[in-house]
């Protein structure tokens, strides 16, 4: 039927290539009957030329200028017939004025990449040195919508039930110790799904996987000569294309299939996939940066510019994407819808998300159209939306990010107060009791699931380093230790760095367990950093963004070396997932609404029912009543003593016909630090207990 339609016949010919007027929407390049539809926007160009390459070849096979009648509004569209879709690469030349002060940077000598390119060639194999003499480094390719998802779809795990695991695709398995067949790739990560399932997490948050250039700003360390790369990838080349270098099959152009297979297999294991997305800036940098795409297509539309035509730098990376321009807003929406629909992505974490709430002059908006659109978008309606609610321009919106009832936030205040509390600072008991409850002071109208609780993330120390270093040690970054944060709230436990001192190491292990414990017992969404469960260290480096080496890669020998920590962490994650009383969707009411004789939460101190919130206190206990859980559950008592000595605590009752059993005691070495429900011993004295120094004790109420 379609073959007979008049709109599938060419009307023009150039150098043997037949073409006709195209469809204006959707933007990008799409396979249609007998050809490929190309559509691209530019508001200020005077003309546009489609440039077609055969894959990997330096010179184009043909350049076809869009006839003026092919332009509708600001959109150039064309169908080109009989192309070898598997072998095709494409880009555009735009003609127009060169006047940077007015945001016009057209240069028809450059072939620019389609902002909607679904696959981008040029960095097909990770770390393969590019040919720098090549004029057109990054080119669009076609994606094929023929993946067999079978019955898969996004999992839609209730937000409050999530346990997030933040991971870097390459760093997770690049180290030879991973033992996978395709280290550092989507396929390699797939081989580790059984490990993730055993650990117990049910969502993995991947550091950026949109196409980026690992060679951007690459340099050799002045002393060691080691290559320092754009390893983390927070610098997007194309928002619709997966990172080819993260696919073992990227050399064959099959990164789309490999990534989709990973998502499908993770879903089969009950694990959601959250993508860390970077819409605050692009890889084009400031006015000295390369013209790759956006700048050469419509500079003043895509970027926030100063009155002089320079780039505002709210991202700290040279430029700022003009997210609340209607065209850019639509691009962001199109992009996320694409990932949700085509890749079955379960949610997104937005890097420096506060930028998404700035207007076209950079001023914060009270009702940012982009954030509202994302919150109410029909395709994204079940996707998790998580904001890093600050930016590099000084906007800090933790607790006040425009949420529209949908957005969650990385809770930076949780991280800061948890770290201070864990290292034994006084005056934190009141603050930490609020954080444990899901931070109602920040999210009262949004619920505890608005709070992504974390103590460590890719930015900053690993958990092991948090309790091994007082100061950052970023010399390996080649920036004279000037990069990375200085407000780490870390504590080295008496010795800076690695030591053989058994006392120091024992203390470090205990504090790390306390951190995991605190995280898993707090209301909200807990997030773990990759490797914290096996004592991953970056040797005190708190900004390993450029280390595609042992510093940034997970050392899997930690599985055997730190078996105790792994067992404890997995135990705590499973404990959380087994007990709905820990995962409430609403804030506590501090009263008995279930008729159990106990309030939903009650706070205690060294004396039951008498919490000490005074400035010198370092100990707080709480009892969660199982009758108030969202599904029938046992009651739980938690005592957290961050004082340097053991403290006696009197206990509230476990409830009629129940006894307290010990689940966790971080003052004990493994395996007595954690008991499964079946093995949990009955507490000898049901009324009083000693909570060890800098330790957490968890009891569960069970039938006598």
């Amino acid at each position: 039927m379609t073959e007979s339609r008049i709109d599938y016949y060419p009307t023009h010919e150039h150098s043997g290539f037949k073409y006709r007027r195209g469809h204006t929407l959707p933007f990008g390049a799409h396979i249609v009957s007998s050809g490929v539809n190309f559509s691209v926007f530019s508001s200020s160009a005077t003309s546009c030329t489609l440039v077609l390459f055969r894959k990997h070849e330096a010179e184009p096979v043909v350049e076809i200028e869009f006839p003026q009648e092919f332009r509708i509004g600001d959109v150039y569209s064309m169908i080109v017939f009989d192309l070898e879709t598997e072998e095709l690469e494409y880009g555009y030349r735009f003609d127009g004025p060169w006047n940077p002060a007015s945001g016009l940077r057209f240069d028809r000598n450059k072939v620019v990449c389609d902002p909607y390119a679904k696959v981008i060639g040029g960095r097909d194999i990770w770390r393969e040195a590019p040919d720098w003499n090549h004029a057109h480094q990054h080119r669009g390719r076609l994606a094929f919508d023929d993946f067999d998802w079978e019955y898969d779809r996004p999992l839609e795990v209730p937000t409050e039930d999530l346990v997030l695991y933040e991971a870097h695709v390459r760093g997770f398995t690049a180290d030879p110790s991973s033992g996978v067949s395709a280290p550092g790739t989507f396929a390699g990560l797939r081989e580790k799904i059984p490990y993730l399932k055993e650990l117990g997490i049910n969502a993995i948050e991947l550091l950026p996987i949109f196409e980026f250039d690992e060679w951007e700003n690459s340099r050799k360390h002045p002393e060691t000569g080691e290559w320092l790369l754009n390893y983390w990838g927070y610098s997007t080349l194309g928002f619709f294309a997966p990172k080819a270098g993260y696919a073992a099959t990227g050399r064959f152009g099959m990164q789309v299939d490999e990534l989709k297979t990973l998502v499908k297999e993770l879903h089969k294991a009950g694990i959601e996939v959250i993508l860390d997305v970077v819409f605050n800036h692009t890889a084009e940098g400031d006015h000295r940066g390369p013209t790759i795409s956006f700048r050469g297509i419509d500079d003043r539309t895509y970027y926030i510019l100063t009155p002089e035509g320079y780039y505002y730098n709210f991202s700290g990376c040279g430029n700022t994407l003009n997210c609340n321009h209607p065209v850019v807003r639509n691009m962001v929406l199109d992009c996320l819808r694409y990932w949700a629909a085509e890749y079955h992505i379960d949610g997104f974490r937005f890097d420096l998300a506060s930028i998404l709430g700035r207007d076209q002059n950079g001023a914060p908006l009270s009702n940012p159209p982009l954030l509202e659109s994302l919150a109410y978008d029909p395709v994204l309606s079940k996707c998790k939306l998580i904001a890093e609610a600050w930016d590099a321009g000084g906007l800090y919106q933790v607790g006040s990010f425009p949420a529209y009832g949908r957005w969650a936030e990385w809770n930076g205040k949780y991280r800061d107060s948890a770290r201070k509390f864990l290292k034994g600072e006084p005056g934190l008991v009141g603050e930490i009791s609020t954080r444990i409850q899901g931070s109602p002071d920040l999210y009262y109208y949004r619920g505890p699931q608005a709070s992504v609780n974390f103590i460590t993330c890719h930015d900053g120390f690993t958990l092991r380093d948090l309790f091994s270093y007082n100061n950052k040690h970023n010399e390996a970054n080649g920036e004279n230790n000037n990069d990375g944060g200085n407000d780490n709230e870390s504590w080295n436990c008496g010795w800076e760095g690695e030591t053989d001192d058994p006392g120091v190491n024992q203390m470090r292990r205990r504090l790390a367990k306390n951190a995991i414990c605190l995280l898993m017992l707090s209301r909200g969404i807990p997030m773990l950093l990759m490797g914290d469960e096996i004592g991953h260290t970056q040797s005190g480096n708190n900004n390993a963004y450029c280390h595609d080496d042992e510093l940034g890669w997970l050392d899997w020998s930690g599985v055997s070396k730190n078996r105790e920590m792994l067992r404890f962490t997995a135990g705590m994650i499973h404990f959380r997932r087994e007990h709905p009383v820990l995962r409430g969707r609403k804030f506590f009411e501090h009263r008995d609404t279930a008729g159990s004789g106990f309030p939903d939460i009650s706070f205690h101190g060294t004396h039951a029912w008498q919490p000490d919130f005074s400035g010198g206190s370092r100990c707080i206990a709480f009892r969660l009543d199982g009758a108030h859980a969202k599904a029938p559950d046992q009651s739980i008592y938690v005592a957290m003593n961050m004082f340097w000595d053991g403290l006696p605590c009197s206990l509230p009752g476990p409830g009629e016909g129940k006894v307290w059993k010990v689940v966790v005691n971080t003052s004990m070495p493994g395996p007595d630090d954690f008991y499964s429900a079946a093995d949990a011993p009955v507490l000898h004295d049901q009324h009083n207990v000693i909570v060890g120094p800098r330790s957490i004790l968890v009891l569960i109420a069970d039938q006598k």
Partner: protein, 111 residues
């Protein structure tokens, strides 16, 4: 290296013996052969690939094409070389086909 394609049909089993390299240039010819085979009532499609030294993404897409064109069709990939098995595994296609060392014969499969 060019691709040699030898199609045959026995009963409800279609076969393609592929020799050489299946790349973007040769893929359309394979696809045409499969389209032609699928005009007949087939239960099984056997791809004999022992002498296939390379299969580009275009080749894998043909397998998907055949599967989606006729979902009940059982596709056998017989004696693939290790790089092809590797690519099938990493892209998830391995589970959609029967990869084995011997030709399944002409009878209806019990797999």
């Amino acid at each position: 290296m060019a691709l040699d394609i030898q199609p045959s049909v026995t009963g409800t089993t279609g076969r393609l013996k592929l020799t050489g390299q299946l790349d973007g240039a040769s893929a359309p010819a394979v696809r045409n052969e499969i389209e032609h085979l699928l005009t007949q009532k087939l239960d099984r499609l056997v791809l004999q690939v022992e002498d296939l030294t390379f299969m580009a993404s275009a080749g894998l897409r043909i397998i998907i094409f055949a599967k989606q064109r006729q979902p009940q069709l059982k596709i056998y990939v017989v004696k693939p070389q290790e790089p092809i098995i590797d690519t099938l595994r990493k892209t998830g296609f391995y589970d959609a086909v029967y990869v084995q060392d011997t030709d399944p014969g002409d009878e209806a499969s019990v797999n």
